[in-house]
C-alpha cells in the first residue's frame, strides 16, 4: 500500500476551516490527515476533549461527515454501536444509502483513551468491531486545563502535578498504551505523528483495510500544554521520533515493524529543552530527572527492537 500525495491533495477536505482549534494546534492536522485518507463514507465518533469541543460548537460543525459525540469515556463503545447498526441494517437491506463499505472511526485524546475511556476501548477492541480508534495524544488533559494524565511523561509540569519547591512535576513515567492495544491481539496497531504525513496516511489506509479493529496512537504536540512557540509543533513531532521518544512503528497481526530507525538518535534532553513544561528539569539538582527520562526512552526503544526481531524471526 502506498499513499500518493497527488491523490491525497485531490481528496475532499472533510474538516472545514473555521473551527476553534488553538493557534499552532497539531490536533486539527491529525483529524484532517486521517479524514483525507478515510474519505466521506465515514462515521466519526469522538470522546469529549479538545478536538470535539473545537469542531462542534452549536450551531456550527466542522465535520462534513456524519459525526457523533456522546460523552468522555465512551467513544469506542458509541462507535461500536454505530458499526453494529451498520451490519444489522445491511444484513436486512435497510441501509439508508447502499455502500460497500463505511468506515467507523473514533477519536479520543489521551484522557479519553489512556485513562477514563480505557475500559470502553478495551471492550470494543476485544469484541472485534470493524473500527479504527485514533488517539491524539497530547500527553495531558489539555481541554480541562493541562492536568496530568497516564500519558504525561516523567517530570512534565501540569496543573495537577506542578513543578514547585518540593515536587518537580509528574513523578511517574508514561503508560505504554500502544503495547496495551497490541496485547488485545487485534489486526493492526501503530504509532505515528502528524509531521510524518505519509506514514500517517499509509497507516490510516492499512488500519481501515483490515477486517476488525485497529488502533492508531498519534503524538500531538500542544503549544498550550507543552509551552512552546506555536510555529514549532510539527518540528517537535519530528524530533520526538528522532530522539526515540515516540518511535514510528506498526504491529500487523502481531508482527512489529519499526518504520523509522534514527541512525544517531538525538538526546531526549534536546527535545525536552524546547518545551516549557520541562523547564524546571534543567535546573541544578534535577539532573536525575533528565537521566531517568533518557533511561526510560532507551529502555523502551531496546524493548521495541527486541519485539521487532522476535516477531520477524
Amino acid at each position: 500500500m502506498a499513499v500518493n500525495l497527488k491523490t491525497l491533495t485531490h481528496n475532499e477536505d472533510l474538516l472545514s476551516g473555521g473551527h476553534r482549534a488553538c493557534a499552532g494546534c497539531t490536533g486539527a492536522n491529525i483529524l484532517r490527515q486521517v479524514m483525507l485518507t478515510a474519505g466521506p463514507d465515514t462515521v466519526v465518533g469522538s470522546a469529549t476533549g479538545c478536538m470535539e469541543v473545537v469542531t462542534t460548537i452549536f450551531p456550527y460543525t466542522a465535520w462534513k461527515t456524519s459525526f457523533i459525540h456522546s460523552a468522555f469515556e465512551n467513544a469506542a463503545a458509541t462507535i461500536s454501536g454505530a458499526e453494529t447498526a451498520y451490519r444489522a441494517l445491511k444484513k436486512r437491506g435497510e441501509l439508508p444509502v447502499e455502500r460497500e463499505k463505511i468506515n467507523f472511526i473514533a477519536f479520543g485524546g489521551d484522557g479519553g483513551t489512556y485513562d477514563i475511556g480505557l475500559q470502553s476501548l478495551s471492550g470494543a477492541m476485544e469484541r472485534g468491531h470493524n473500527m479504527l480508534y485514533v488517539c491524539y495524544d497530547n500527553e495531558a488533559y489539555m481541554n480541562t486545563g493541562i492536568q496530568r494524565s497516564g500519558a504525561t511523561p516523567l517530570g512534565a509540569h501540569t496543573s495537577t502535578a506542578p513543578a514547585g519547591t518540593v515536587k518537580q512535576g509528574k513523578e511517574q513515567n508514561r503508560k505504554d498504551l500502544t503495547s496495551i492495544m497490541v496485547a488485545h491481539n487485534i489486526p493492526y496497531v501503530a504509532q505515528t505523528t502528524p509531521f510524518h504525513w505519509k506514514d500517517l496516511a499509509t497507516k490510516v489506509e492499512k488500519a481501515l483495510a483490515v477486517d476488525g479493529p485497529a488502533f492508531l496512537n498519534v503524538l500531538m504536540p500542544c503549544p498550550v500544554g507543552w509551552h512552546f512557540d506555536t510555529a514549532i509543533g510539527q518540528d517537535l513531532a519530528r524530533e520526538a521520533v528522532e530522539c526515540n521518544f515516540w518511535p514510528l512503528f506498526e504491529v500487523e497481526n502481531g508482527v512489529y515493524t519499526i518504520n523509522k530507525k534514527p541512525k544517531e538518535p538525538t538526546p531526549v534532553a534536546d527535545w525536552m529543552k524546547k518545551q516549557g513544561r520541562f523547564k524546571h528539569v534543567f535546573k541544578p539538582g534535577n539532573e536525575h530527572l533528565l537521566e531517568a527520562s533518557q533511561q526510560f526512552v532507551d529502555a523502551q526503544w531496546e524493548k521495541l527492537l527486541k519485539l521487532e526481531a522476535m516477531t520477524n524471526s
Binding site: 466521506p40 463514507d41 465515514t42 462515521v43 465518533g45 470535539e52 469541543v53 462542534t56 460548537i57 452549536f58 450551531p59 460543525t61 465535520w63 462534513k64 461527515t65 456524519s66 459525526f67 457523533i68 459525540h69 456522546s70 460523552a71 469515556e73 465512551n74 463503545a77 458509541t78 462507535i79 461500536s80 454501536g81 454505530a82 458499526e83 453494529t84 447498526a85 451498520y86 451490519r87 444489522a88 441494517l89 444484513k91 436486512r92 435497510e94 441501509l95 439508508p96 444509502v97 455502500r99 463505511i102 475500559q119 470502553s120 478495551s122 471492550g123 470494543a124 476485544e126 469484541r127
Partner: protein, 391 residues
C-alpha cells in the same frame, strides 16, 4: 383477536415482546435480576428466531453508550438492566433522552447499593426519574409484556422521539411464572411498525453532527424543546394505549383505577404491590370501608393534572413509595402527588415500604387503610411513615 395464553416469567415475556419489535441491535451487560431476560433473548438469536445483533459489552456504561451509537446510526435498539447497572449507565441515560433517541430499556427493578441487595425496590428507576425517559411501570408479566410492545410505538412516534423504560419488579415479576396473553408475531409487528429514524449517521449522503458542544446561547432552547416533548409524549401514550386496547381488549391509561369511583380513601401505588393492595381493599370493602386504589402506570411524564382530578374530593390519600429520597420530604411518588394536590384540600400521607425486597404483606396494607380512616376522621398521622420495618 386470538391471543395465545402462555405461562412465562416477566423476563421471558419482555424478551418476547422485544423480539416481536424485530430490533436491529441490542446491547447489554448482565446483572441480577435482569439476566434471564437477556439469556432468553440470546437464545432467540442463537436459534435463529431473530437476527438482532447483540453487543455483549464490558459494562452497563458501554451498553448504554453502544445503544446510543446504534440508535443514532438509525437502528431500532434496546438494552436491559437493573439497579447498580442502571446507576452505572446514568450519564448516558440522560444523553439518550437529550439526543432524542427512542431506545427501549427493560429496567428490572432492584435496590441500589449499598449494602448490596439483589431484591426489588424502585430506587433504581426513581433515581433516573429526571433523566428524560418515559417510564411505564407494570403490575405483572402481562402488563410488562403489553408495555414492552407499546413502548416502541410511543418512543418512536415522530412527535415524541424519546427513550422508554419499561419497569417491572425484580424477582416478584421477573422470575415468577405468570399466565399472560401474547399477540401473534405478525400482529405485534404490524402494531409496532417499521422503524423510521428522523436522522441517521449511516445516511452518509446527508451527514449530521450529533451531540455538539452546546453553550449558553442555545442549550436552554434545546432543553425547552425537550421539556415540551413530554406533554406530547403523554398524548401519544394515551392514543397508543387506546389503539392497543382496541386490538387486544386490554385497556391502559396513565393510571389504573381499582374501586375508585366512590372511594373516600385512596392508596396510590406502583408495580406489583398493587395486587396485594387490591386484595386487602376487597376485605375492607366487604366491611363497608370505602377505600380504593390508583395504580400509577406512567410515572414519567408525570400526569399531575390527571392524578389530581382522580384524587380530588377524597377524604384521605396514602402514597406508597418503594424507594426513599434520602433527606427529602418523603418518597418521590409522594412528593409528586402531594405537589399535584396542592390547593385541593385533600390530606396526603406518604409511606415508604418494601426496600431491598422486604415483603409487602397484607398487614401493611391494612395498617395504611387504618391510617387512612384515622386521617379521614380528622385524626393525626405523620406526613411520612415507614412501613414494615422493625423499630
Amino acid at each position: 383477536m386470538e391471543q395465545k395464553l402462555v405461562a412465562l416469567s416477566g423476563n421471558e415475556a419482555v424478551a418476547y415482546a422485544f423480539k416481536q419489535a424485530h430490533p436491529h441491535v441490542a446491547s447489554a451487560f448482565p446483572i441480577t435480576p435482569q439476566t434471564e431476560m437477556m439469556h432468553k433473548y440470546a437464545e432467540f438469536v442463537a436459534n435463529g428466531e431473530t437476527d438482532t445483533e447483540i453487543i455483549l459489552v464490558e459494562s452497563e456504561h458501554s451498553a448504554m453508550s453502544a445503544a446510543v451509537g446504534s440508535a443514532a446510526a438509525g437502528a431500532r435498539t434496546f438494552t436491559a438492566t437493573s439497579s447498580a447497572g442502571f446507576a452505572l449507565m446514568w450519564e448516558i441515560v440522560y444523553i439518550t433522552a437529550s439526543l432524542r433517541l427512542p431506545i427501549c430499556m427493560a429496567l428490572v427493578n432492584r435496590a441500589l447499593s449499598g449494602n448490596i441487595n439483589i431484591h426489588c425496590d424502585h430506587s433504581d428507576s426513581m433515581g433516573g426519574r429526571d433523566a428524560g425517559w418515559i417510564q411505564l411501570f407494570s403490575e405483572n408479566a402481562q402488563e410488562a409484556y403489553d408495555n414492552a410492545v407499546m413502548a416502541w410505538r410511543i418512543g418512536e412516534h415522530k412527535d415524541v422521539r424519546l427513550p422508554v423504560m419499561v419497569t417491572y419488579d425484580g424477582f416478584i415479576i421477573s422470575h415468577t411464572a405468570d399466565a399472560l396473553r401474547m399477540l401473534p408475531d405478525d400482529v405485534a409487528y404490524k402494531f409496532i411498525g417499521d422503524y423510521k429514524p428522523g436522522y441517521a449517521l449511516l445516511d452518509v449522503e446527508n451527514p449530521i453532527t450529533v451531540g455538539p458542544l452546546d453553550l449558553t446561547d442555545y442549550y436552554f432552547e434545546h432543553k425547552a424543546d425537550q421539556i415540551a416533548a413530554y406533554a406530547k409524549a403523554a398524548e401519544v401514550v394515551q392514543s397508543v394505549s387506546e389503539e392497543y386496547g382496541a386490538l387486544t381488549g386490554r385497556t391502559y391509561e396513565f393510571c389504573e383505577e381499582y374501586k375508585l369511583d366512590d372511594a373516600e380513601m385512596v392508596m396510590v401505588i406502583l408495580g406489583s404491590s398493587a395486587g396485594t393492595a387490591k386484595d386487602v381493599i376487597d376485605e375492607y370493602r366487604a366491611k363497608g370501608v370505602k377505600v380504593g386504589l390508583l395504580k400509577v402506570r406512567m410515572f414519567r411524564p408525570f400526569p399531575a393534572a390527571y392524578i389530581a382530578e382522580k384524587l380530588a374530593g377524597r377524604k384521605a390519600v396514602a402514597v406508597l413509595d418503594r424507594s426513599a429520597s434520602f433527606g427529602g420530604f418523603g418518597g418521590p411518588v409522594f412528593t409528586e402527588v402531594r405537589s399535584a394536590m396542592y390547593g385541593r384540600q385533600v390530606p396526603v400521607r406518604g409511606y415508604i415500604y418494601g426496600l431491598g425486597g422486604r415483603d409487602f404483606d397484607l398487614g401493611q396494607v391494612a395498617k395504611v387503610i387504618e391510617d387512612l380512616q384515622k386521617v379521614a376522621a380528622g385524626g393525626k398521622v405523620e406526613d411520612v411513615n415507614l412501613l414494615g420495618v422493625r423499630s
